[in-house]
């Protein structure tokens, strides 16, 4: 009984793998020896030409609509997308790569390689992912992901957004908390090797801010010094605010 079940399942799988009935396999027009031009109103699902692929960034060498399948000669993104998601939007503590600054991604790949970014998950996952990554591939990956459109994770506490925005924009000079805006920009879009923070996930931002205070990734100056003055509730507020921030909408 079990074997029959398995056979049925494998048959079903092979049908699925073969794909739906398609014009190339069973082309009714070819059988009839007529071309679509001779039947102008012919518009069945099988014969209708595929719509052009939507590409919101025409300047990108990587057509976004092809995701999650990168071009054959493109960078080996599948290894990244296993964890970072097929459209690289990240998941919880796994950071979003889409829209991240290319120079920042490249710098961090270097930091995983020389183990200076030693946060627990970095050591567990990223240290083993990068040793054989040639520099030109690292650059191509950084370029590829930076061109994908980012979406805001929006997973923080909405009640803390106002407090987070105030901290982000002005800091708290009395408590020696610097503003974030000076380096990360008015809409947290980042610049150069300074990362885009807008819309990163609450869980990722919170862990990062906490882990500088726990002694991890001390080479990322000036962040270890910046986070030193932040309380747990202030970290909560900042991470919440940033998780909802859609800098592309903000700058429009």
């Amino acid at each position: 009984m079990k074997q029959i079940g398995l056979t049925v399942a494998s048959l079903a799988i092979s049908f699925l793998a073969a794909g739906p009935l398609h014009a190339q396999q069973l082309d009714p027009l070819a059988l009839l020896k007529v071309t679509p031009a001779s039947v102008p109103d012919h518009n069945c699902v099988i014969c209708r030409p595929a719509p052009p692929l939507y590409n919101p960034r025409p300047d990108s060498p990587y057509p976004l609509a092809l995701l999650p399948l990168p071009p054959a000669n493109g960078p080996p993104v599948k290894n990244c997308t296993f964890c970072h998601g097929v459209s690289a939007q990240g998941l919880g503590v796994v950071p979003r790569l889409a829209g991240q600054r290319a120079a920042y991604i490249e710098k961090e790949l270097g930091a995983f390689r020389n183990h200076s970014r030693d946060n627990p998950y970095s050591a567990l996952y990223m240290w083993n992912a990068v040793p054989n990554l040639p520099p030109e591939t690292a650059r191509a990956l950084a370029d590829y992901f930076s061109r994908e459109a980012p979406q805001a994770a929006a997973d923080g506490n909405r009640a803390l957004v106002d407090q987070g925005r105030a901290l982000y924009q002005a800091g708290e000079p009395q408590a020696n908390i610097v503003t974030c805006v000076v380096c990360h920009g008015p809409d947290a879009q980042g610049v150069g090797a300074i990362p885009r923070l807008a819309g990163l996930s609450y869980s990722y931002l919170k862990r990062r801010l906490e882990q500088w205070n726990q002694g991890y990734h001390q080479t990322a100056k000036p962040m270890p010094q910046v986070t030193r003055s932040l309380s747990a509730s202030e970290i909560d507020a900042l991470a919440s605010y940033l998780s909802f921030l859609d800098d592309r909408a903000a700058s429009r």
Binding site: Q169, A170, G171, P173, Q174, A175, N176, V178, T179, V181, V182, C183, H184, G185, P186, G190, V191, G192, I194, K221, P222, Q225, V226
Partner: protein
């Protein structure tokens, strides 16, 4: 022409009113209290943005180098920031969190730091910059910079050191002089900078920045 003058006059009055409002608010806040953690904590707070050893930092905005800066200038600017006479959204609240009694210690700390040029081009024409710095631009009514800032661009007292400053910060300062420091310049030592910066082209600003940022 008259219309333009009229508009300038109106906006100056509006600006002056705004600055006066900010100024009185500022002085109300800047009480004679010590800041949290004392002067050493404040210095570390400055260095978080202005770079380790006050070397400046390229964030989203260029954050100026403080190393080697004249103490009189640093104290003067902290006062202007906290009274709203130099208008930036970031430094106003920061300066108001520093007690005036701490100004001199902070200024002396950064003045003593290594001010050797950092290198790295700015894209400006160094030869043109040197020419403007030494001779000014007579046809544009731009005076020679060295007349006040000194031949070595080290400045003196309230006149800032320019030598070794980050070029993009210098360009920004020359571009937004009136917006940031118009009120102070109306009655102060820096009055000359209003017409001077107004008459410089973008390329001339970049040239001057390229020249002085490479001076030792």
């Amino acid at each position: 022409m008259m219309a333009i003058h009229g508009r300038y006059a109106l906006s100056s009055i509006a600006l002056a009113t705004a600055f006066m409002a900010v100024g009185s608010f500022g002085s109300a806040l800047a009480g004679p209290r010590e800041s949290s953690g004392g002067v050493q904590a404040k210095i570390e707070y400055c260095e978080t943005c202005h770079g380790a050893s006050g070397q400046g930092f390229y964030g989203y905005y260029a954050i100026p180098r403080l190393a080697g800066q004249q103490t009189g200038y640093i104290e003067d600017q902290l006062r202007d920031f906290s009274h709203g006479e130099r208008h930036t959204p970031i430094m106003g609240p920061v300066a108001r969190s520093v007690s005036p009694s701490e100004y001199s210690a902070i200024a002396a700390h950064f003045h003593a730091m290594n001010s050797a040029p950092l290198g790295g081009g700015s894209g400006g024409n160094v030869a043109l910059g040197r020419d403007i710095f030494m001779n000014g631009i007579p046809e544009s009514n731009v005076p020679a910079c060295w007349a006040c800032h000194g031949q070595d661009a080290h400045g003196a007292r309230e006149i800032p050191r320019l030598a070794g400053q980050l070029p993009s910060y210098l360009i920004k300062t020359l571009s937004n002089w009136y917006e940031q420091r118009g009120t102070k310049s109306a009655h102060g030592l820096s009055a000359i900078m209003v017409p001077t910066t107004h008459n410089l082209t973008r390329a001339q600003m970049a040239a001057v920045a390229a020249y002085v940022s490479g001076l030792r």
